[in-house]
Symmetry: C2
Subunit: 213 residues, 2 copies
DNA sequence: TCCCTGAACTTGACACTGTCAAGATTCTAG
DNA sequence: CTAGAATCTTGACAGTGTCAAGTTCAGGGA
């Protein structure tokens, strides 16, 4: 049990956690430094000992989100070694699940909430790591004939773009309801992937994520 | 020259224009109702005669953005009748140009800044119209063998997702600099489109938008 | 042991924001 | 011409990001 001391002990992480919580419950508009401070049980100016800015807290929250995505994707990657098609599908699905479940956290990461990423090295590093993972997946899919051959960087941009754009449009309600009413999100994903896949993906075989996912 | 009268005359549109201007110069963080009011030369509470909320102004700005995109895309569509491949490429390019040139306006439209689109019928209508246009393009591309056959709604989601995701990732600096340093945005787009296109798109032929675009 | 330096935190202030209520002004339908 | 609606102003309130000054506390050197 943490004693109530003058020094919090782990305020920085407590503020990040509080911020993520506020984000989940009230969305971007409800997120404020003072509210996070209140939630962590400290005074309104305490955060300035750990974050230069509100921007800095937001950047930390975004960094946390990217780390969580990396952990998810890496875990899925390990789960299906030697099956790049399954890796592609389940990694995309995992990405989408995160986006839909943690919508506002996802938005903080990809919606320009962090105005100058350059200023936050940890953020730059983790986003680079994520791109590397996507690139790695791309290379394997190319070797397996799932994706077209060519510069893997270019293929990675196309593939990731497809998946990311799909979540974004879904998240912002840009996809007509005449479509979303007729198909499940999983079906929509498979269909989207089928547009870049060189081998046809049979909906039957991949209609649901396998158990133990 | 507009006289300085008590009644502004066109305050609603003036506020939208002011908002767009602020967005372009200071980004989302700099946008406030009071600043827009100041810019339009009215008192700080005047906007409430035309917008119930700050959200309502943001929704109006988003609606304006979607209309502008629609106008762009429709114009490109007319420019190349009977050439669906060119339509696909130049529509995608035009979409991307808007996103990159009017980055913050674009973000307002696609980043959850409008929390309840449902409440803004004009916004819902124009986004539906845009999806219709994308769908129309998709059908033509399918007929020409450029996109895989099948439910055009599904194909539209995949195609639009690809383009939209590409802009979003570019805009938020998620694409590794090792990639963006080596290729122009136009090249990246062509490469991305090549991943969903059934017919290979020769970079040579489409490296630049044709004159008069 | 004492002190002292720096980090972590509090208190108080400032300008700015979204929003509401009350009043002033102008437009327009009858 | 007049009544009511639409538009706009003024003034207020709570909440916000941020800074400056002071308070508490942990750890190291004497």
């Amino acid at each position: 049990m943490p004693e109530k001391t003058y020094h919090h002990g782990d305020l920085k992480n407590a503020l990040i956690a509080a911020g993520i919580d506020i984000l989940a419950k009230e969305g971007m508009g409800g997120l404020s430094l003072r509210k996070a401070a209140r939630k962590a049980g400290v005074s309104h100016a305490a955060p300035y000992a750990h974050f230069t800015d509100k921007q800095a807290l937001i950047a930390a929250i975004a960094t946390d989100g990217h780390s969580k995505i990396y952990a998810r994707l890496a875990s899925v990657m390990e789960q299906y070694p030697g099956d790049p098609l399954r890796q592609l599908i389940e990694i995309a699905w995992s990405y989408i699940e995160f986006g839909l479940q943690e919508a506002d956290h996802f938005r903080v990461m990809f919606s320009g909430a962090v105005e100058k990423e350059r200023d936050y090295p940890a953020l730059v590093e983790i986003t680079g790591k994520n791109f590397g993972l996507v690139r790695q997946l791309t290379v394997r899919c190319q070797a397996a004939g799932i994706l077209a051959p060519g510069d893997p960087d270019l293929a990675a941009v196309g593939m990731w773009g497809l998946v990311h754009g799909f979540v974004s449009l879904l998240l912002e309600g840009q996809i007509s309801h005449t479509v979303t009413d007729r198909y499940s999100q999983r079906e929509l994903l498979i269909a989207a992937l089928n547009q870049i896949s060189r081998v046809p993906i049979d909906l039957q075989n991949y209609s649901t994520p396998p158990d133990g996912g």
